[in-house]
């Protein structure tokens, strides 16, 4: 994540923006995974699926619960991290070379200073 102008406003004892970003990403992903695991395994007994697994294995409930949670946690981490990255990068940091916000480019009539340019021919 970019730590653009936040470094300058660093307050002693307060986490840097990067640290806060990482903390939020991990925590929110964990919360979402908890809720997801709870709901999924409340209505679905992994042991009942023993004959339905696509892969030829039989896992116990504990392993299924743990793998389910870890999977949801990974998905949550991926989504959180990507969201944070998308919010921290992009238009508000302006030019790709990092030169601050640009105004929209100026448009003018092509023929204005170029009397020999006949736009009708460009079709």
């Amino acid at each position: 994540m970019t730590d653009t102008n936040d470094e300058r406003h660093e307050v002693p004892g307060r986490w840097s923006q990067r640290k806060r970003d990482i903390g939020i990403i991990v925590w929110i992903a964990f919360l979402a995974a908890c809720v997801g695991t709870f709901v999924i395994f409340a209505v679905l007994d992994p042991d009942a699926l023993n004959d339905a697994w696509v892969l030829p294995w039989e896992m116990g409930r504990k392993l299924a619960y743990s793998l389910g949670f870890l999977f949801l946690f990974m998905v949550g981490l991926f989504a959180s991290a990507l969201t944070a990255f998308m919010i921290r990068s992009g238009p508000q940091s302006g030019h790709s070379e990092g030169r601050g916000r640009r105004p929209p480019p100026q448009i003018r009539s092509p023929e204005e200073d170029n009397p020999d340019l006949d736009l009708e021919d460009l079709r």
Binding site: M86, H95, S96, D113
Partner: protein, 460 residues
């Protein structure tokens, strides 16, 4: 947020972008890409290969039909390979020539192109559209706007219908639509995908690329100084300025850029390529096309804006074909050819012998020990087969099948199997190699491993 923003320039409202129409090499290339990709999308579900819809993802039956090949959930590995191939291709093509995907193949670009074409057909070219938008709501404006929306909605609905046609046999689905007998989920997904098409291609357009697409933000990680990107050549172009054709550039102290700003006017994301590479650039190359025409007009050499590399713009030597490209390319080649080879050479039979969980073994009269299993077997072929079962490494084992192993095309079933072994054959765990072979095609054959349990003889 202050959107009207005359006071606060930080929140200046971004002007609506009316890209000017452009023709040229790259515009033609994109039209070809649109025809090919959308042609495939709209036609494929209507084509049949060996009696089945050419591409059909039958989710309820858990089977994917792709050009005569049937994929089962057990073929999960192909999905993984497909994803790896897609990721690697993205790296390969981005390192080679930037965002080719965005300019020619992204559904966002492809459908936006069609929606803009419809808009141009009904509302006229750029100047007419700007005038129409600024004019009061008179009869003509209402007529044109309503006509445009109508065609857009019909096209979006057809797109949604086709999309669902990849998951439900499309001829059946067409019948359901005609008879107003669509199921609730078919209805939901047709409407959902139609709305998505309409919203993305008619309404959001390049905003998706600018604000929502992660690829745009990641591209810098895949670029290097030898990547072909669309660039303005400032050494040649600057200082820019208007002039008559007859003006001697050297004398007037001017570069080749006549500052007509046409490159900005054709840009679908509204950027100025002369400011350098920007993450908004979707590599549509409209600026190259229009600038080449202006250069022709001025009788200057083409290529003031062109596909080039950072190295060559800075007059340094660099090679487009470089280790990175060669490594990506080789990996991609190995992956694709390996996948194709394994898909065409796969054995259309899958089998597992699963022990009955309730009993270890059973002793029968006459010194025979019986182990019970379930044979999970899938015939992945498109015709029925009868299979023979045989124990390879122990001739004394007798196989007792609950029923003959006869499977219809693409059937997946479980058959109870009893293996009877004379007690004299051994003690403890016996490892058996069991062969399954189709009786009409010996090449369809699998050997599976099974464990049989035998009683331990005690003491004497």
């Amino acid at each position: 947020m202050n959107e009207s923003g005359s006071g606060d320039s930080l929140y200046r409202k971004e002007p609506k972008i009316y890209p000017r129409q452009v023709s040229g090499r790259f515009a033609r290339l994109r039209v070809i890409a649109v025809w090919v990709l959308l042609g495939l999308f709209y036609l494929l579900p209507w084509l049949d290969v060996s009696g089945k819809q050419s591409v059909l993802f039958d989710l309820p039956a858990r089977k994917f039909y792709i050009f005569g090949l049937t994929l089962f959930p057990q073929d999960f590995v192909y999905l993984a390979l497909l994803l790896i191939t897609a990721g690697l291709s993205l790296f390969f093509f981005t390192a080679l020539a930037g965002r080719l995907w965005c300019g020619y193949a992204c559904p966002q670009t492809v459908w936006t192109e069609v929606f803009i074409w419809i808009e141009r057909l009904i509302e006229g070219d750029r100047a007419k559209r700007m005038k129409l938008d600024a004019s009061p709501w008179n009869a003509e404006k209402i007529l044109r706007k309503v006509a445009k929306q109508f065609v857009w909605v019909v096209f979006a609905a057809w797109t949604g219908f086709t999309f669902v046609g990849f998951f439900t046999p499309i001829r059946e689905l067409g019948g359901h639509v005609v008879n107003l007998a669509l199921g609730p989920w078919e209805t939901f997904w047709i409407i959902f995908y139609s709305l998505a098409t309409y919203g993305n291609a008619g309404f959001l357009r390049e905003q998706v690329c600018k604000y929502m697409c992660p690829y745009a933000r990641f591209q810098s990680a895949m670029f290097d100084k030898d990547t072909l990107v669309i660039s303005y050549d400032p050494d040649r172009g600057e200082p820019r300025g208007g002039r008559r054709k007859s003006v001697d550039r050297a004398e007037a102290g001017l570069g080749d850029c006549i500052n007509c700003t046409l490159c900005v006017q054709v840009c679908p994301t509204g950027i100025d390529i002369r400011d350098g590479l920007q993450y908004e650039c979707i590599a549509c190359a409209a600026c190259i096309d229009v600038c080449d025409q202006v250069m022709d007009k001025m009788e200057y050499p083409r290529g003031l804006i062109r596909y080039t590399t950072e190295h060559s713009l800075k007059h340094k030597t660099g090679h487009v074909v470089r280790p990175r490209i060669i490594v990506y390319g080789l990996l991609l080649l190995i992956l694709v050819s390996g996948t194709l080879w394994s898909m065409t050479n796969r054995i259309p039979l899958r089998a597992d012998l699963i022990r009955d969980r309730n009993a270890l073994y059973r002793e029968l009269p006459g010194g025979i020990v019986e182990n019970v299993y379930t044979l999970k077997i899938t015939n992945m072929d498109d015709r029925p087969h009868h299979y023979e079962m045989k124990v390879l490494n122990n001739d004394a084992v007798v196989i007792d099948l609950a029923r003959p192993i006869d499977l219809s095309a693409e059937e997946n079933t479980g058959i109870s199997v009893r293996l009877r072994i004379p007690r004299a054959e051994g003690q403890g765990v016996q490892n058996l190699d069991i062969e399954l072979q189709s009786s009409d095609d010996p090449s369809i054959r699998r050997v599976i491993k099974a464990k049989a349990l035998m009683p331990q003889t005690t003491g004497n």
